[in-house]
Symmetry: C2
Subunit: 562 residues, 2 copies
């Protein structure tokens, strides 16, 4: 809807209302539906079409062959909650408040003791789409805050089926409550209780429930003749991994691959239904993941393909996403689009598709992908900003990426188990400082660590000297520059004395300056934690007789170690 209409004199009000009513009616038959499928911790390299040797995704590969593959597409953040908030607001987490400034450059998210959530002042995608008559549903993981004021139905969604937080557990419902599963505004059970995830086998029916729920919603909206927005976001590829009985053991890479195969089958079923209902030509479907593969989960994590490091980092493995856009009859089949883009662009694109305008009173980071998708008009001025918490770590424009800051994870986390062992074996304990690491790293060559399961390593098996570091390194005076075309794995920094560095860097520095100049950080929402806000007594608990006593409130600063 053109916002200028509202500036028209009062006498035109009746006409405008009439036009609006017409617009809503017309959307019933013409306004395209939007489905955004956001996977959880799935990596760029996990799709067959993005090269995983296990080849578990025939339906996604077919979706790419029928639609457009976007190899240069990014999440809004290397971590889940901020990335999901960036999608639904079209804005970087630093603007919408989904970050913490408790410590410099730390990733924060929404565990169940988080006090904050999506601020009331943020305008979410379904709130806007409602103006064009869309009915919106989220199926799967919300993660934008779980206290009542933050729930999906308070922020534009008409329906919700899924969980508010990660399916961590099982808990004892005494020290910590299990995470609830919601239908709309009320909980209908808890993970590991009514919604079983078998810890030993990894068996769970959740993905099947999410698939069925998606199919049902599409059928209902089709029958009602209403345009819809479906945010389908199952979480089976996030640890603890799970798959249903029919999929367990089907892949060659264990539970992770089984989960991928089940999600892939779900994608296939959803696209097949759109074809059966003959609404495939009127439905734009995006497939993407919320952040890079959780490489620190080792064999239980996904693949970052050729990219460096994984989730939690601002190297490519942390934010480059497996992305497909599908719209039969509109998007040229088999298109490979090297349009730089981010999950925030799906916000703007969906709004444009509905014939509406994005909010004009704030900076929206998402840009409209329709020219690229429909006419292959590439926006070459598009930039990608890589944040870690409150710090702009890197920027990409074209094929060039400049790191202003680098950090993998802290030395304390990285050698946790090793330090434990050394302390036990040494007469003098070793204090984990960067200096002591040198000694430890040195010795590590000769000590075979058979079980380093307590160590945290966001870049297992990788070591790029001068690029990866266990200390936060400030490169702002002379950023580390990479050509991601020649060097997608960020292994070979371009010398800062080279001609190409001198020609490229001023442009990137200007992009950074412009960005910083216009930046008004939102109030950080992820600073405070409190046991009292955990899921003791979510809405609906009375009906199920599952309300638990709420402990006394004692807000503390959340600890974000990386």
């Amino acid at each position: 809807m053109d916002q200028r209409r509202w500036k028209a004199p009062l006498w035109s009000f009746v006409i405008v209302v009439h036009m609006l009513s017409m617009e809503i009616q017309s959307t019933a038959t013409n306004t395209p539906n939007v489905i955004v499928m956001v996977m959880d911790d799935m990596g760029w390299g996990d799709l067959g079409v993005f090269g995983h040797p296990s080849k578990e995704t025939p339906n996604l590969d077919k979706m790419a062959a029928e639609g457009a593959l976007l190899p240069d597409f990014y999440s809004g953040n290397p971590l889940c909650s901020p990335s999901r908030a960036s999608f639904l607001t079209g804005r970087l987490p630093i603007r919408n408040g989904f970050y913490s400034d408790n410590a410099h450059a730390r990733n924060a998210y929404t565990p169940q003791n988080i006090v904050g959530g999506i601020p009331e002042c943020e305008i979410l995608l379904p709130e806007i789409l409602k103006k064009a008559g869309y009915r919106s549903k989220i199926i799967g993981k919300w993660h934008l805050g779980h206290r009542e004021q933050f729930l999906p139905l308070k922020h534009g969604f008409d329906e919700f089926y899924g969980s508010t937080n990660c399916h961590f557990g099982p808990y004892d419902d005494k020290e910590t409550p299990n995470i609830p599963v919601f239908r709309n505004g009320e909980m209908i059970g808890r993970y590991y209780e009514e919604f079983e995830i078998n810890q030993k086998t990894g068996e769970s029916n959740m993905t099947q429930l999410y698939i069925e729920e998606g199919l049902k919603f599409i059928q209902e909206q089709n029958s009602a003749g209403k345009p819809f927005f479906l945010y389908w976001t199952p979480d089976a590829t996030h640890t603890p991994l799970y798959a249903s009985k029919d999929f367990l053991g089907n892949s060659q890479r264990g539970l992770y691959g089984d989960a991928v195969m089940e999600l892939d089958s779900g994608v296939g079923r959803i696209l097949a239904l759109l074809k059966d209902l003959k609404i495939d030509n009127n439905t734009l479907v995006f497939f993407i993941s919320d952040n890079g593969a959780a490489t620190y989960e080792k064999e239980n994590g996904g693949s970052t393909g050729p990219f460096l490091c994984g989730k939690q980092t601002t190297f490519e493995g942390g934010m480059r996403e497996p992305t497909i856009a599908w719209w039969p009859g509109k998007i040229q089949p088999g298109l490979i689009l090297h349009q730089l883009g981010s999950i925030m662009d799906l916000f703007t694109t969906a709004i444009k598709l509905a014939g509406l305008e994005v909010p004009q009173d704030r900076i929206i980071d998402g840009t409209n992908l329709l020219p690229a998708l429909l006419k292959q008009e590439i926006n070459t001025s598009k930039s990608i900003f890589y944040y870690r918490g409150n710090e702009l770590m890197a920027v990409r424009q074209g094929l060039y990426k400049a790191h202003l800051w680098t950090w993998t994870n802290s030395i304390q986390e990285f050698i946790h188990q090793f330090i434990e062992k050394m302390i036990k074996s040494e007469t003098k304990p070793i204090i984990p400082t960067p200096k002591s690491f040198e000694v430890l790293s040195f010795r590590r060559q000769f000590v075979k660590i058979s079980d380093d399961s307590d160590n945290v390593n966001f870049c297992p098996g990788e070591n790029v000297t001068g690029v990866m570091s266990h200390q936060q390194v400030n490169h702002t005076d002379s950023p580390l520059l990479f050509n991601l075309g020649l060097d997608p794995g960020e292994k070979y920094p371009i010398s800062n004395t080279s001609a190409v560095y001198k020609s490229v860097m001023p442009g990137l520095q200007a992009v950074v300056q412009e960005h910083k100049k216009l930046l008004v950080p939102g109030t950080p929402q992820l600073n405070l934690c409190d046991r009292a806000v955990e899921h003791w007594a979510p809405p609906g608990c009375e009906k199920l007789h599952k309300c638990l006593p709420v402990p006394k409130s004692k807000p503390v600063k959340c600890v974000w170690p990386h």
Copy 2:
């Protein structure tokens, strides 16, 4: 041809000759053609369908969609000459003599000062196919020895267009002659002279010549109504990289990507011609590479995708190959075949396809892929043997791979440049021993090496503790075991105290023992080097007035540093 026929009594000779003549006639219309496309140093991860983000291979991706993709397929060796010799003989280099025992576990090949080549006693694929009336041509790089007795036409090929060795150069024709390009038995010019490769721009027309030559051969054989074997093996992705004018600058990863795009276009043109001539249903086409990506070439090398290390190593990056089989009407389109296989299987498969039998008087390592390709009957007992020179480094069966030996490259090569710098900056020179490396490695954390171009690193940016090493490590008593399904990147060795290790390792050890029991190493062909055998005066040089004086023979042991 069934070899038992030759044991029949003499009176049946006339009948046999008659049958043979019928067989040759019938092949003219029914015997399938075979095209094997072997790329040079192209990596598993370079194809679009195997995940490279640059997506430079639309024709190969289409070939895979129309045919079968084989993600678990291997070269015969992590280096070019031995791998190519293994293809054409169906036998491991340790058997056919394409190795050196000058030093333990060293990769050797056929530079122009090599004395040896393919032994006379080896039976090459075209020699066998000739029995079924095939005409055979090699286009591109031979690499099985360049002295007269080793040339393609002496070993069963009817035609040859290409070079005998790598296109290294330019040389001065005094200290070293430039490498010749041959047509059949005679040279028709030299690289950097009649066959230009522009050193500055990387422009060369060679790939176009190789494409045209391939198209012409196919058309000629089709007109003649004869079955053919085309070994199409251009070398543009081997350094020095090159591409023709129309392809220069087309990719987003520089000359390497441009070369890939040109080769991909060649594949497309060849497959299109087969369709135009309506012989696509009678032609089996394989696409593969000779070894892993040359990761030590940094931005000028290919991609190993998710696999560890590259060319020259027996980690997956050194030997896992981008492999496609294409045969419209016979191979189910879009098939993903997790059949373990190697380039040696193409030898056996081509022979079976021609209705012939492999030699019975020697061990043939190649196995017949037709049951897997045509009926999806997977041979689960297939093993892959990973050799480095004269040493069996690793073995794979099913998803499990055991390393008996590990080695990346020597510490001397790895820190060559660094040692040079240290020696210059130190009052006391540092002797490059494993012990001194500890010190250097230690300091390396703090010294940013801006130009380490003289260093050799087969695993840039990678560091898997206890798996990668700069010394040769003997694990035969307790092999390093990986599940390549769970862990394709060989990052997480399975503990040798685990139940899975204890259940899997005896089977793998039995495979190794059986292999070693039957092994009769061939006479090593790559031990001796001699300046006198260089391309001073190849056959045909007189006609071109390009014969150079031959220096006095002085054979020496070749030096193979890794």
